[in-house]
């Protein structure tokens, strides 16, 4: 049953550009990019309870890193520039994660919010590198002899990377590391008591989360083709948080579903113009009222109980 679902899913993903109009291929790429960020954010917030409102900052770092590499070193194959973008972002994640170890809850959330703003300001200040307000045009990426100049080519690149990262995330969650991270979420004190080195795991979560988002940023740069500081504001960070909460914290499937739902909603509501935020907001409200714990939690109720984060008004 599970195999059949996976096989059908894979077939849909591979066959999509042949069946769907060009625009929906582009949209699918965007969904996949957001899903990668959501998985990364989930690793941080869903597993170790470190809620981040600054992930647009990591996305920006990865995006600009990949874009600058593509412009300045055009001979570099795409997988390498994506990897480098991810590593650069991971390094920043490390630099942010360590001091954030001593912060919790809302203080951490605010620190990450501040981080997001600082990244945008840095992009503006480093305008000799990033072209600041004028924005940066990203040339098409090269993979061996091919130039990824069509939506379909970029789609396959995005899907391949996304598939690899999803598999990696599933594996992480199944290993000792994943269980340790989950343990941290349930109770930091208990986790410590059972020998888990809290600082190491929390920092690891930051670094991996930043890496994922950085790679997603690189893909974003290639798919959208243009970067500007206006692309990475705090509202984008909030969108990512919405994705993982609507999808369901602590669930990889939830992250993917959440990303798909929010991205598709945003896209299909664009024609409602000034009613768009009204409808989107109303949908958010009703989903959370009727599906507390997110979509994954609602699905999980069908297939058995799940552990839950603290309820409204409860002390930790």
């Amino acid at each position: 049953m599970r195999q059949a679902a996976l096989a059908t899913g894979a077939a849909v993903v591979v066959g999509w550009p042949w069946a769907a109009p060009r625009y929906f291929v582009f949209l699918a790429s965007l969904i996949a990019i957001n899903a990668i960020v959501a998985i990364g954010l989930n690793l941080l917030s869903g597993y170790t309870n470190q809620l981040s409102f600054g992930h647009a900052g990591f996305l920006a770092i990865g995006a600009y890193a990949a874009a600058i590499l593509t412009i300045r070193a055009p001979a570099l194959p795409v997988p390498v520039s994506l990897l480098l973008a991810g590593l650069v972002t991971a390094a920043v994640g490390l630099a942010l994660g360590i001091p954030c170890l001593r912060l919790e809850g809302l203080y951490l959330a605010m620190a990450t919010l501040a981080f997001g703003f600082v990244v945008v300001e840095a992009i503006l200040s480093l305008d000799w590198l990033t072209r600041g307000n004028d924005g940066l045009r990203v040339p098409a990426a090269r993979l061996g002899p091919w130039t990824l100049a069509t939506d379909t080519a970029r789609y396959y690149l995005v899907m391949t990377v996304a598939a690899l990262l999803v598999v990696a995330a599933v594996n992480i969650s199944r290993t000792r590391t994943g269980r340790a991270l989950l343990a941290v979420r349930e109770s930091e004190i208990a986790a410590q008591a059972s020998g888990i080195h809290l600082a190491a795991y929390k920092t690891l979560a930051f670094v991996v989360s930043a890496f994922y988002t950085g790679v997603a940023g690189g893909l974003f740069a290639l798919v959208v083709g243009f970067l500007s500081p206006d692309s990475f504001d705090v509202f984008l960070s909030v969108d990512f948080v919405a994705m993982i909460i609507v999808g369901g914290l602590g669930s990889i499937l939830g992250s993917v579903v959440g990303a798909a739902v929010i991205t598709t909603l945003n896209d299909s509501l664009a024609g409602f113009q000034n009613y768009r935020p009204l409808i989107f907001g109303a949908i958010l409200i009703t989903s959370m009222v009727f599906m507390p714990g997110g979509i994954a939690s609602a699905l999980g109720k069908i297939s058995g109980a799940r552990s839950r984060p603290p309820r409204q008004g409860e002390d930790r």
Binding site: A19, S231, Q273
Partner: protein, 387 residues
């Protein structure tokens, strides 16, 4: 869990969204479809709604009621991007590939517009009259410029102030984005021609709450003229701040996009004596035939909406499109439209000076000087030249 049949159902639904092929995109026997990505939420939502729904659409209502263009009615499609460049890219792709629009009209803001430039040029889709002032949109075959670009504005302003009125000390309070930066760069360049430099330049972020520090620093530099490169809110804040500290020995000068009745109403009496470059005749009181007609039409179709410079910009954009489409003939193609635009020689809108479109594809190249007296803009010069 996700079952096989639901996946197949999903696939079927998606397949049914395949488009029906059309000959010339956006042109059928009965209608022409044009559209654009614009701000309907976010920082520039008011402007976005005015230039589209109460600007472009107003003019097209008049045209459609009179029978359309060569028997075709014009329909518009707009999507909201909230000023996010990546959303503008997605919306524009959707308009071109799914809605199959004939042309893109009056998208707003440099980042969203520049993000879509390459795509539109590659796909040979006309980008008409983008509502932004950065010169970066120059030099594209399929782009027709809209509002007077910042380098032309700057040239007119500096030539008038430094050249004619012999002002020597200039300062600038500018918004920290492409609008502000493009004017700043242009000012520095034009002042350089007179051997001058800005004595002070202070930036503010969009949505700022307090500008007292920036205004204090500018005052300390003692400029004769202080440029305001802002949007109406911070612009009015700066004027009120100036009033608060009693800084009277400078002339505040607003750039084209700021010279607008809205900052007048926000600043109240703090706006007295402020000068600026106006890109439009007064939409509320001008006697020009085109402006009177615009007011009549607004009153007829949207009586609750007050005339303003944004909707008049959209109205003009639609007027130019309609004329271009008319000249291109019944056999309407995108290349035909662009060629028709290039044939404009001293075309009268009744609102702006006669429009002659050259290879630079610029439709607006002029402004005139104004001064605020008793709460209204008083015209001080004729249309200035920027060539």
């Amino acid at each position: 869990m996700i079952s096989r049949s639901s996946v197949l159902l999903l696939l079927a639904v998606m397949l049914s969204a395949l488009p029906v092929a059309a000959q010339q995109p956006g042109v059928s026997d009965t209608e022409i479809v044009i559209g654009g990505s614009n701000s309907f939420s976010g920082p520039l939502a008011f402007t976005g709604e005015q230039i589209t729904k109460f600007g472009v659409d107003l003019y097209f209502k008049v045209i459609n009621d009179a029978g359309g263009i060569h028997g075709r009615k014009i329909r518009t499609v707009y999507y909201d991007d909230a000023y996010r460049p990546q959303d503008a890219v997605a919306n524009t792709k959707k308009l071109v590939e799914q809605d199959r629009v004939f042309a893109i009209i009056i998208p707003q803001g440099s980042p969203p517009v520049v993000a879509t430039l390459d795509y539109l040029e590659e796909n040979k889709v006309p980008l008409l009259f983008p509502y932004q002032s950065s010169p970066v949109t120059r030099g594209k075959r399929y782009v027709m410029q809209g509002m007077t670009l910042s380098d032309r504005s700057s040239k007119m302003m500096i030539d008038y102030l430094a050249g004619q009125r012999k002002v020597k000390k200039f300062a600038a309070l500018y918004q920290d984005d492409e609008y502000g930066k493009s004017f700043l760069t242009a000012f520095e360049k034009d002042l350089g021609r007179y051997g001058l430099k800005l004595v002070a330049a202070e930036s503010v972020k969009r949505g700022v709450t307090d500008v007292s520090a920036q205004v204090a620093k500018l005052q300390a530099a003692k400029p004769e003229v202080t440029f305001l490169v802002l949007v109406p809110g911070p612009g009015a804040q700066a004027l009120k701040e100036r009033q608060k500290i009693g800084w009277n020995d400078t002339i505040m000068v607003s750039t084209g996009p700021l010279t607008d009745e809205r900052y007048l109403s926000l600043a109240g009496d703090a706006a007295e004596g402020v000068e600026g470059l106006s890109l439009w005749p007064d939409p509320v009181s001008s006697d020009l035939p085109g402006v009177k007609l615009y007011r009549e039409h607004m009153h007829r179709y949207f009586p609750q909406n007050e005339p303003n410079r944004y909707s008049i910009a959209g109205y003009c954009a639609a007027m130019l499109f309609a004329e271009g489409a008319k000249r291109a003939g019944r056999n309407l193609t995108r290349d035909g439209l662009m060629a028709a635009f290039e044939s404009f020689k001293a075309y009268e809108t009744g609102i702006l000076p006669p429009i002659t479109i050259g290879p630079d594809h610029e439709t607006q190249k002029q402004g005139f000087w104004v001064r605020v007296e008793q709460g209204r803009f008083k015209q001080m010069t004729d249309w200035l030249k920027s060539e």
